[in-house]
Amino acid sequence: MLEKLNEIEQEALASLAVIEDEAALEAWRVANLGRSSPAMNVFSQMGTLSKEERPLVGQRANQVKVALEKAFAEKLEAVKQAALAKSLATEQLDVTLPGRPAPRGRLHPATQNLRRVLDILAEMGFQVYTARDVESDEYNFQLLNIPPHHPAREMQDTFYVESAQKEGSYSVVMRTHTSPGQIRAMREFSATNPQNPPPIRIALPGMCYRFEQITARSEVQFNQVEGLVVGESITFGDLKGTLSDFARRMFGQHARTRFRSDHFPFTEPSAEMDMECFVCGGKGCPVCKKSGWLEILGCGMVHPTVLQNGGYDPRRYSGFAFGMGPERQIMLRHKINDIRYFWGNDIRFLEQF
């Protein structure tokens, strides 16, 4: 009987050795470890054995059973591993095939950059103040220290809206800048406490309009963001410091700025803030038109007449204002040389942002 058990064990292990898949392995399990397998039959035949033989055979039968079970478990693991290895080896995708497109929405590049500008300004304490697109001549020009027939009006070719005429010119215009919002904001805030108007720190975004032909370089409408600060101790040094901080946030901490004198009717002193060209590092290239500098924004101390018109006493309050073109920043950043792309809304342009 012991010999038979040895035979059973050897035969079973031999047949197990050649098995390669799970189905055959299952069949082997039934055949060798199932209820009617030869090894199990030994247990059922125990009764026919002698007293002396019984413990020996019983012990041996158990050993065989344990050995077969262990071998089975090892084989099962090996077969699974082999199957996995085989499938890993054969299931090779072409990972360079494109994925299935997920629908993706986007904001217009002008909105994206406008937000970026406003976010930075917001962190610097500038609250967004929005105002209307169609303005009176009074708000767009006169209250900003640009009287009728002033030479400065030539700097801003204006779209006039059919309306009542005053001295031969229309009294309603498409705003040429967001500056009329400065007057609206100052008047709104000073009205809350005329004797003691609150300080102001606002950003004024919005679409502005200039009477021009639409070409690669000029558009009839463009976004502008202006900033206005009014307080009791605002200086030109603050203007320089604040705007250089802004430039570093907007264009990177290495951004170098310079302020040169310029003229705007609503600020005095006025300045232009240039930034060292980020394309060529100041050496001169087509983006900066070989100058090494990029004009980023116009700025200046708020003109006393403008403060006065806004309800802020210029003897007590001072302030600074600045204005920039978010689309121009996008064009510089992405080397776009046709401004018509913005409102042309060609999907092939928009989808690149």
């Binding site: 059919e162 307080g231 002193p269 006393p304 060609d346 999907i347």
Partner: protein
């Protein structure tokens, strides 16, 4: 304004300053140099100087002054000459084709040699015969059998001007052998002059700035003249009609002038600054205008004297406004019809010139003129601006007058011009100047303290330092106690008084001190009240939600036309009378009004992109413009979006061709409103732009928030679309105020297991699905956690005019685990009410 460096040198010592240094000072000081054209002077060695630079440098050894001693005919060519030339060291024979040398041909040795600019072999010059500016190097060659290795130059070849009619004849002071660059090497700065710097539309004005910005002395021009002959006092009178339009008029006289070309250096400077040289007298008026900024006008005095009543009567020059319809022939030969705002300079016989803009033909200086009456006057800049625009007569004079020339300049301009006329024509300046000055402008007086400087600029500048800065610009300053009393110089029209004057002075102090020297600081002022901008924040949320729903934002022109917007109406439909905000000066007919519909803008963009993408999903958010009874129109905010094309983008293994329909659009509408946490309902709507059966209104609190649907087939025909377009037109003015201010309520989530169940009911086709769902929800109460319609089914089996609606219901309690019995109870109640109230039948 063009600024030749050689001319600038007349008034300020430029020692140790490069051209780039000067350009940099001007640019930082508010006079931006837009480009620099070199004509002789060496170009900068490095290229990181920050300016646009072009032009040519003249080699010191290869381009020199030379003299032509004889002009001989060419043996084989009539049109060429062979010049005997001395370059200071060697005698050469030089071949030329210059027509201005023909008259000297065959005269033998010239009595007075002709001074010329001479270029030797290897010199780099512009090719005089090429179109535009082409650099070429002078090479040895043979022309018609005669060897040539050098040349006599024209202005074009030297990069001075476009002039190539003949070679340059230099003035007598040029010495043969001198490097030409030392004699007249130059560079011209193109300087942008802002409106507040009208005083700097002159060489002297810019020189004053350069002197002030570099701390150098300004060399003032000579204004005094030697006079001869009879005084003009009493012989010439001035009558000013309206001093507000003509605050000052001055007259001088010069006799016995010989009209001839100006000296070469004058012609060269005029051409470099952009003016043609005409004759010594006309050139003197132009030269002085560029030099000092005062435009002048020369009359032929004898023409005027011949027109007066009698031999002893004085010439009376008067200024007045024109009669409406009055005519004047200006010296460009055009007869002009005048209006009553135009100001005329007249004599007793009639109008002589259009004041400050252009002279009349009759009294123009001619080659026979001998005596010149010279006018220097001041005019109202607004009036000149209007007149120049009215007659479309932009000129160097009207450019200056229309920006404001201080009346204080008249006398200096007059004297200086007489000086140049005498120098260049051999004439004699008559004693006496007639000066009518009825309306001298008040010179601004400003007082500042050191605290004003600290307050405006944030730095300490002592008052005596401020004084010296301002004096460089010719402000008169007096330091009394702790106050600086400042009087603006009689060239400045841009300085105010009071607080405005202080700001004007601060700008001048900062400019001359140097913006770059003012340190950057952070605001010490307290942070103002932080208000935010809730309206904008809500709009930005809408934009974000739409982008998250896969839509592309677009931004379009606000300008459109009624025709473009009427494409929203079915073909041949009656156009309702709609009032638009109209532009008075549109750039094009299709951009003549402000848009009233955002949907029209979005559909234009859909059309433009229809063939570029298999599916489109676009939105725009912005204002439309509605005329109102007020001065300014209303600008309500709208939102429009449109989708078209395939529901899913194709991939390499999926080519599902299903196109978007009403329910795709509604999904977007619901996605938006759900993200905004708005409770709304939908109702069938009628709108001319939409398919009558596929259009819905969004309703909240009984009011419509907008409509959406499939475009009407007859509207689709108005566009070049590829697939049906579905669109929504929403009123943000109605939607945004409904948004919960603080936050929407959030339902708790139950911990107990849900019971899931489906029910299907058969109802009349005409019954809106939302009524079934509403009844289910109402009946299910709190325990019915969710209801989802998962199938709509129609078949013969169900019956004609009927539909089956299948819902997945989720029951869930917050108090404990629901039993099947609990769920069955609710279900029974739901079914009973559906049967009783909506005539529904349970589908088994």
């Amino acid at each position: 304004m063009k600024l030749p460096i050689s001319w600038l040198k007349d008034f300020v010592d430029l020692k140790d300053l490069t051209v780039i240094d000067i350009a940099d000072k001007l640019t930082m000081g508010g006079m931006e140099v837009e480009d620099i054209r070199f004509a002789g002077l060496p170009l900068p060695e490095r290229d990181d100087h920050g300016f646009k630079v072009n032009g040519i440098a003249w080699d010191r050894d290869k381009i020199v002054v030379a003299e032509i001693t004889a002009v001989n005919p060419h043996p084989n060519a009539d049109r060429l000459t062979l010049c005997e030339l001395f370059d200071g060291q060697i005698h050469h024979t030089v071949l030329t084709g210059a027509p201005n040398l023909y008259p000297f041909k065959g005269l033998g040795q010239l009595e007075k040699p002709i001074k010329v600019a001479y270029a030797k072999e290897g010199a780099t010059l512009y090719d005089g015969h090429a179109e535009g500016l082409v650099l070429a190097t002078l090479k040895r060659t043979k022309i018609r059998g005669v060897e040539s290795y050098s040349m006599v130059c024209s202005e074009k070849e030297l990069g001075i001007s476009e002039e190539h009619e003949g070679v340059i004849f230099l003035d007598d002071d040029a010495v043969a052998g001198t490097p030409l660059v030392d004699y007249m090497g130059d560079a011209v700065l193109e300087v942008k002059i802002n409106p507040n710097m009208a005083r700097n539309t002159s060489i002297l004005g810019l020189a004053r700035e350069v002197a002030a910005l570099t701390g150098r002395a300004l060399k003032k021009p000579v204004y005094e003249n030697q006079v001869k002959g009879e005084s003009i006092e009493g012989r010439i009178k001035i009558e000013i009609g309206n001093p507000a339009l003509n605050p000052r008029f001055t007259i001088g006289l010069i006799r016995n002038v010989e009209i001839k070309p100006s000296p070469y250096w004058v012609q060269r400077r005029l051409r470099m600054i952009g003016m043609r040289a005409i004759s010594n007298i006309v050139d003197a008026t132009n030269y002085t205008m560029f030099e000092l900024g005062e435009p002048l006008h020369a009359f032929d005095y004898n023409v005027l004297a011949a027109r007066v009543a009698g031999p002893s009567a004085p010439v009376v020059i008067s200024t007045r406004t024109a009669q409406p319809g009055e005519k004047l022939t200006t010296l460009d030969g055009q007869e002009r019809t005048l209006s009553d705002s135009n100001v005329l300079v007249c004599d007793s016989a009639g109008a002589l010139s259009l004041a400050g803009i252009m002279g009349g033909a009759e009294s123009e200086v001619s080659p026979k003129t001998t005596d010149i009456l010279l006018e220097a006057a001041a005019w109202n800049f607004i009036n000149i601006r209007k007149t120049a625009n009215q007659h479309n007569l932009p000129s160097e004079a009207s450019y200056r007058f229309s920006r404001g020339v201080h009346p204080g300049l008249c006398l200096e301009g007059l004297k200086r011009c007489l000086y140049w006329m005498a120098q260049w024509s051999g004439g004699q300046v008559a004693p006496g100047i007639i000066d009518e000055y009825p309306l001298p402008p008040k010179q601004a007086v400003i007082e500042i303290r050191a605290s004003d400087i600290r307050r405006a600029l944030g730095i300490e500048i002592a008052l005596n330092e401020a004084k010296s800065l301002l004096e460089r610009l010719e402000f008169e300053c007096e330091l009394v106690n702790n106050e600086l009393r400042i009087i603006a110089p009689p060239i400045r029209m841009d300085i105010g008084e009071g607080v405005v004057g202080v700001a004007d002075i601060m700008e001048e102090i900062a400019r001359i001190y140097g913006y770059e020297r003012i340190p950057e600081t952070r605001m010490a002022d307290p942070l103002p009240p932080q208000r935010g901008n809730p309206a904008l924040e809500r709009e930005e949320r809408v934009r974000d939600i739409l982008a998250s729903l896969g839509m592309q934002e677009i931004i379009t022109h606000r300008f459109t036309s009624p025709e473009i917007e009427n494409r929203l109406l079915p073909k041949n439909a009656a156009v309702p009378p709609i009032d638009y905000v109209r532009l008075a000066n549109p750039i094009a007919p299709e951009k003549r009004v402000l848009r009233r519909s955002l949907l029209a803008s979005v559909l234009n963009v859909v059309e433009r992109n229809a063939r570029l993408s298999e599916s489109l999903s676009l939105f725009e958010l912005g204002s439309v413009f509605v005329p109102s009874d007020e001065l300014l129109p209303r600008e309500p905010r709208r939102l429009a979006f449109a989708i078209t094309g395939k529901r899913f983008e194709s991939a390499w293994d999926t080519r599902i061709g299903v196109k978007v329909d009403f329910y795709d659009l509604k999904g977007l509408v619901e996605g938006l409103l759900d993200a905004l946490h708005l409770e709304v309902s939908y109702a069938p709507a009628v709108h001319p732009s939409f398919h009558p059966g596929k259009c819905a209104a969004i309703i909240a609190n009984g009011a419509s928030l907008g409509v959406f649907g499939e475009l009407h087939p007859l509207v689709q025909e108005n566009y070049d679309f590829v697939s049906p377009v579905l669109a929504a037109d929403l009123d943000l003015e109605a939607i945004l105020p409904l948004l919960p201010a603080l936050g929407h309520p959030v339902r708790p989530v139950s911990e107990f297991p849900p019971v899931l169940e489906d029910i299907a009911v058969i109802v009349e086709e005409s019954l809106p699905a939302d009524r079934v769902e509403a009844l289910i929800r109402q009946t299910g109460g709190k325990t019915l956690a969710s209801v989802r319609l998962f199938d709509v089914f129609r078949s013969e089996q169900i019956g004609a005019g009927k539909k089956s609606l299948a819902y997945a219901l989720t029951y869930q309690s917050f108090d404990g685990t629901l039993t099947d019995k609990d769920a069955a109870g609710i279900r029974t109640r739901i079914i009973r009410r559906l049967e009783n109230e909506l005539d529904a039948k349970l589908r088994s």
